[in-house]
Symmetry: C2
Subunit: 299 residues, 2 copies
């Protein structure tokens, strides 16, 4: 299962009850937080995201609307007694910024906090997923991320699973290709109760960027693409000057990359109504939706 | 006019739609922000505080629930084109923490941002007010503040002001003791249209602290005292261990200091209902009210 839950879809200034950028990517049992604007911990509570299950946090760049909520989230995790390691990926200056604040507050975290410096092409490979980092084009160093299942989970055959009386808690284990071993030691081969899964799913987050065709190469063919659309088309010049994109430009990238579906966000505070973003983008790429707070977009 | 508007009344973890500590102190035409937990800029917008009129910000200590919202507020002020100087008073580490983040984001503020390091007994004296800083007793270096009018504004005599046909925009000018000069150069002496004001008003903010009787000396006789009450009386031992106070302890300080009125806040996230705080405190000091978000307490 691959899904994206939007916690914040606005650009720098909070407005119209929209919040700065934050998203949760769910990749089977793994939870990743992508960007963490001010107030993200409140949005996490509001939308009942299981904070303790967030393993890795990715910070695209060091504009405040993408990370000012990180230090608060980390200290809250500490106050709530988190024990699992937390891995934070971001630009090099992120670690000293967070550590300076933890030190000034006399905070002693009960969990291990590990930082990693992002670079173009950086890849995090684990058993079931792969995350690749790509540079985008913003006023300061900024990265996008592609989340990809390394292999798709297998599908349970409901008739066969009943036949062998395998208990429900083992289904996920089976989906990931393992055999079932009963209490008496009897082995049920995985192939007897499951069928091959569908193709690997993928999601790309293109962060804050100006319109740049090479991004289409970095997100080629993903199932779901998030691209920023700070402005509407009439402000294309302003968008470029501020290293941001328009709805038309986001849709153009989606079309050129041949993605299945596009979601757009990072709306400027100057816009109260968001429908025009969807309308402009759909003229070029019909499978476009607004990235709305509290909504989960499943692949 | 002296008034306090509560923007956040909760302790470390946001809960029950209560926010971390922040207050706005209005002293005649001056606005001061006292502490600035995460999300304060959103609370400022929600309660229509005129952000641009905030001249000075006081940060009591460097636990996140008292200052994690400061960097976001400062960058937002920058994005909105603030021009007036902003003066920030806090512990020494505050300046490098904020500057490091401004630098990482490539922020260039259009206004002058000036930091001052707090110390016990530090006094800021201006024409119409005086702010004194006093050390309280917390896990890390922490300060309270007393805001005091240096002189009270004079009262307009409604009959006399009509007699001399003085336009409304000049009333504030008259309240502060100045004479009125008409377009034709005629001088109306202040004493002809105003009467002496009442005594100087005062407000004390006792920050986060454990119960310590010497605080009563520092806030002696103020009109309004804010004292933290993280816990109820049954958790007095826990309060002390964590360098916090109970409702009974806050009321005891108010009583010993002979203040006129007490407001209590910084409630632990473990309490959904706040009435018991008020009940416990009122048994010792009847003029106690809960510090509720969005409410302005006038002196």
């Amino acid at each position: 299962m691959l899904a994206v839950t939007i916690l914040g879809n606005n650009s720098a200034l909070p407005a119209f009850d929209r919040h700065p950028t934050a998203q949760v990517v769910t990749l089977n049992e793994h939870l990743f937080l992508v960007d963490c604007g001010e107030g993200t911990q409140i949005q996490i509570a509001k939308y009942r995201i299981r904070r303790s299950r967030i393993q890795k946090i990715f910070i695209s760049h060091l504009h405040g609307d993408h990370y000012f909520g990180l230090v608060g989230l980390i200290t809250t995790m500490g106050l709530l007694g988190r024990e699992n390691d937390l891995h934070v990926y971001g630009p090099a200056e992120l670690e000293p910024i967070i550590q300076l604040q933890l030190k000034a507050g006399g905070n002693h975290l009960p969990f291990k906090l590990q930082f990693y410096t992002l670079h173009d092409g950086m890849t995090i490979t684990e058993d079931k997923f792969e995350i690749t980092c790509f540079k985008v084009f913003h006023r300061i160093e900024c990265y996008g991320f592609v989340f990809r299942e390394v292999r798709a989970p297998r599908r349970i055959n409901p008739d066969k699973i009943k036949l062998y009386s395998i208990p429900t808690p083992y289904y996920d284990w089976l989906r990931w290709g393992h055999d079932f071993v009963s209490e008496s030691g009897e082995v049920i081969a995985n192939e007897l109760v499951t069928e091959p899964g569908s193709g690997s799913k993928s999601y790309a987050y293109a962060a804050d960027t100006l319109f740049e065709r090479s991004i289409a190469c970095r997100v080629k063919g993903v199932d779901l693409l998030y691209h920023e659309t700070t402005y509407l088309h009439d402000l294309a010049e302003k968008a470029t000057k501020r290293f941001h994109s328009t709805a038309v430009q986001a849709a153009t990238i989606a079309k050129e990359a041949g993605v299945h579906r596009l979601i757009i966000g990072h709306f400027s505070s100057k816009y109260e109504k968001l429908d025009p973003f969807e309308e402009e983008a759909r003229e070029i790429f019909p499978s476009t939706d607004l990235a709305l707070e509290g909504v989960t977009y499943r692949v």
